[in-house]
């Protein structure tokens, strides 16, 4: 639930902003500070050529990286949040959602789409961390549920690209129950013997980790992604000492047995296609 922390804006994630970027604009790697043109960075899947740092990107970028020719059909694009609890903290939920929609150009924290990856059908649900920290609310739960129905209908494998701080507090109990809802739907997908690939990217924490992100037939991750149930700050407070180097990063999680492999984003598409072919052939 770390969305409220101000993360440095590395790469702009919304389509609208990207289009407005004049060609030749420089973009700085958030880790090693090397300068790249925005175009070069996009061509390298937003991975730093020098230090391999994976910039945080959004659904649009992932769809473009994954789907053949950048072509895909978006599902349930307009599904938007209700306000079941009339939730107000320092700001009322409805205003928060509207303001976020305006600033990001997104409708909620996940987009779902179908298309082809190396000629193979795939339904993908990709989160946008820029939208209230990629938080899991009713819209995310319902969009994933419907995307699974679509995968079953067209007999395609299903993939979730997680990038989330966890639950959406403003939907409280409704948010919590999405964990159960999506898990139930994944069971239906499994009954149809359709593979589910969980792709964990930086960061994947809280209720997303404690449900569908850990339930893949294959769990795969980007390098150095934070993957946690309780975030590092909470764990540090609990144990009262500093955390070991690399704690809760992809490589650590792989070593402890919870990931099948880690894949560099520049090799994501071919690696994923390879896995999908094993299931298919």
């Amino acid at each position: 639930m770390s969305w409220f922390k101000r993360h440095k804006e590395g790469i702009t994630t919304s389509t609208k902003e990207k289009k407005e970027t004049p060609e030749g604009l420089w973009s700085k790697c958030t880790k090693c500070k090397t300068l790249f043109t925005a175009d070069d960075l996009a061509k390298n899947s937003y991975v730093c050529d020098r230090c391999s740092h994976h910039e945080r990107i959004g659904s649009e970028e992932y769809f473009n990286i994954l789907f053949d020719g950048g072509k895909f059909t978006e599902l349930d694009a307009k599904l938007t949040s209700g306000d079941p609890l009339k939730f107000t903290d320092t700001k009322d939920y409805v205003s928060r959602v509207k303001a976020t929609q305006k600033s990001t150009g997104l409708v909620d924290a996940i987009r779902t789409a179908k298309g082809k990856v190396d000629g193979l059908d795939l339904v993908v649900a990709a989160m946008d961390f820029s939208f209230i920290g990629g938080s899991l609310g009713s819209v995310m739960g319902e969009k994933i549920a419907r995307a699974i129905d679509e995968a079953i209908k067209i007999k395609a494998p299903f993939m979730i690209i997680s990038k989330s701080g966890g639950a959406r507090m403003m939907e409280a109990g409704f948010s919590l129950m999405q964990m159960a809802k999506v898990s139930g739907k994944l069971g239906q997908l499994a009954e149809h013997k359709l593979p589910y690939i969980s792709f964990l990217t930086d960061p994947t924490t809280g209720g997303v980790t404690a449900s569908f992100a850990m339930l893949g037939d294959l769990n795969i991750a980007e390098p150095e992604a934070l993957i946690a149930f309780a975030g590092p700050r909470v764990v540090k407070e609990t144990i009262g000492r500093d955390l070991p180097e690399g704690f809760q990063r992809s490589e650590f999680v792989l070593e402890h047995g919870f990931l099948d492999y880690i894949v560099d984003r520049t090799e994501l598409k071919e690696t994923l296609a390879k896995s999908l072919k094993f299931f298919k052939n």
Partner: protein, 317 residues
């Protein structure tokens, strides 16, 4: 000694007055019956007044009341002691914050599972304050699978301030353990009844909380986060816990109203903590009712209904 929360103080005063009056009656041999009756009816009125006007935050406080019964107390009472505890996840260790085993309700074998809090300082630490590690969730799942194999229904008691956020818990896959339980519980062939008896904090609660009947005792809470943590995150201060408790709609009444739990089990008028025996009886009868309703169903339908129920949760436009 009983513990009284601040809003219960008027009851403590009256109870003490009744005690004193009884003592005076006994030592002076003056008939104090009228006085005692008067005080007792006053106590009953006051109890009703306090317990029918509880705020969400007061209910949160009651859910954590130190005199409130914990899972093993329910199990022992409901089975009349005919219960056997089973240990271990068969992989790492035995988690003392999660207990389970077969027990009998009037001749019917049931698998009981629950988070367990400690009854004193030493036991609270031993039970890790009811915060399970991954082993706890894996033990719970092992026992649920055991029940399924032998066609026995499952009853879970939920009472946790959360899954333990420790270093080893993360290393051993707290997220995966909870996720696996949610997934597998959704597909259990046998009836599953989940009862929130105290605190239902987030994924740590849901990890044993997927069932055909998910019910809350009246003075409990169930939500995605505790009011304190919610206050600290959204208001950046611990001072808004009461407002957060309101905003989260975490009481049994609100959770039922929003269709997120199936039923609310009424507590005795002065709360489960003051009338434990009565509470045990009510819970036992409720479980028997649910079992009568759920047992005849076909497994396929039961699983479909369970998935359908959770699939319908959510509000969107």
């Amino acid at each position: 000694m009983s513990v009284y929360l601040d809003f219960e103080e008027p009851l403590k005063a009256l109870e003490e007055q009744i005690e004193q009056t009884k003592e005076i009656g006994a030592s002076t041999e003056v008939d104090m019956t009228d006085k005692i009756n008067e005080l007792e009816s006053l106590l009953s009125e006051k109890t009703k007044e306090i317990f029918t006007g509880l705020t969400p935050w007061q209910r949160v406080q009651l859910s954590r009341h130190p005199d409130r019964p914990y899972s093993l107390a329910y199990i022992n009472a409901i089975t009349d002691g005919n219960f056997q505890e089973y240990h271990g996840d068969r992989s790492v260790k035995d988690d003392k914050a999660m207990i389970g085993g077969f027990g009998s309700i009037d001749g019917q074998t049931v698998m009981f599972i629950g988070q367990q809090k400690g009854i004193n300082t030493k036991m609270r630490q031993y039970r890790n304050f009811g915060m399970p590690n991954p082993e706890g969730y894996r033990k719970a799942l092992r026992l649920m699978k055991l029940a399924e194999k032998f066609d026995k229904p499952i009853v879970t008691f939920i009472d946790t301030p959360g899954a333990f956020p420790g270093l080893e818990a993360e290393e051993r896959g707290q997220g995966e353990a909870i996720a696996r339980n949610i997934y597998e519980m959704m597909r259990l062939k046998v009836p599953v009844i989940c009862i929130i008896i105290g605190e239902g904090a987030s994924g740590g609660a849901l990890g044993i909380g997927v069932g055909d009947k998910v019910v809350m005792l009246e003075n409990t809470w169930y939500s995605v986060i505790s009011p304190e943590s919610c206050s600290s995150i959204l208001w950046r201060s611990w001072d808004f816990k009461e407002i957060a408790a309101d905003a989260l709609k975490l009481t049994s009444t609100d959770m039922k109203k929003n269709g997120l739990v199936d039923e609310v089990i009424k507590e005795p008028i002065n709360g489960a903590h003051r009338s434990q025996e009565e509470m045990f009886e009510i819970v036992k009868n409720s479980i028997k009712e649910y079992l009568t309703e759920l047992s005849p169903q076909k497994a396929d339908k039961r699983i479909n209904d369970r998935i359908e129920k959770f699939s319908n949760m959510g509000v969107w436009k």
